[in-house]
């Protein structure tokens, strides 16, 4: 995902802001890292450039 996507993403649980933590990037493209809910504390992984913003109860299926 491009870093600019942060402008339009929010926590799927309560629409609050997310914080971006980057492990690996390629220019403005975030390849690995996570998005963390500033209110819920929920952690959403970014893997191979794709953030997984499914709510926790829909993950791992």
């Amino acid at each position: 995902m491009k870093e600019s996507l942060m402008d339009i993403l929010c926590d799927p649980l309560d629409k609050s802001d997310l914080e971006l933590e980057v492990d690996e990037r390629d220019g403005d493209e975030i390849l690995e890292g996570r998005l963390v809910g500033t209110v819920t504390g929920e952690v959403y992984p970014i893997e191979d450039g794709i953030p997984n913003l499914l709510p926790p109860d829909m993950r791992d299926d």
């Binding site: 995902m1 491009k2 402008d7 339009i8 993403l9 799927p12 953030p51 913003l53 499914l54």
Partner: protein
């Protein structure tokens, strides 16, 4: 063996919905009406989102979602092919859940719409790409209820509706949510008529 393993074994075609007549119609509407910041919900293979990048002159940036991880990877691959034209930002998401208010100028959706016996539901990713629950509207209804929130002023929603889903029921809900609507493209096939509706806030 899980559904995912099976899907991997059989190849992507069984795990990811591939472009069909409905995709073609939605792409036509996107090229005609898409503008600004563009979102495709439930992108499947990513074909329509890729068309938005390459063929829709008024579209500035493209985001595509799917619940299916195989679909997300397929869409990301298509995004790479058109990276020089801006590419596709792929997000694994359920409907519009992780998007902020007023985020998009255009939202396109070719929903899973086939009415399905609940006994046979959600058995694999392809079923999930096709099935709209008992009514056929299990995903269309929550989408229509929430899409006004993420739409920027002057924005438009492009929604594919099949006659199999109950066209009048969809239109009734669209009106109840305060949208104006018009048909952008319509095509009849032996078993269904497909329309793409453009919804705009009154």
């Amino acid at each position: 063996m899980t559904g995912d393993d099976l899907a991997d074994r059989r190849g992507m075609e069984t795990a990811v919905y591939q472009p069909a007549e409905d995709s073609g119609l939605l792409a036509e509407a996107v090229v005609e009406r898409g503008h600004g910041r563009f979102l495709e919900v439930g992108t499947g293979s990513g074909w329509v989102a890729q068309k938005a990048v390459t063929d829709a002159d008024d579209v500035e940036s493209v985001v595509a979602t799917d619940v299916n991880p195989h679909a997300c990877r397929s869409a990301r691959e298509r995004g790479r092919e058109v990276a020089s034209a801006g590419g596709i930002d792929v997000v694994r998401a359920s409907l519009l859940d992780p998007f902020a208010d007023d985020a998009f100028d255009t939202v396109a959706f070719n929903p899973p719409y086939l009415p399905t016996d609940p006994e046979n539901e959600w058995s694999d990713w392809m079923e999930r790409a096709l099935s709209g629950g008992e009514t056929g509207r299990e995903l269309i209804d929550p989408f229509v209820d929430d899409v006004g929130r993420v739409l920027a002023p002057g924005g438009v929603v492009l929604l594919l509706v099949s006659s199999l889903t109950g066209y009048d029921d969809v239109v009734e809900r669209v009106e109840r949510r305060g949208f104006d609507h018009e048909v952008v493209v319509r095509e009849s096939y032996p078993f269904e008529t497909l329309s793409v509706l453009a919804l705009s806030v009154k």
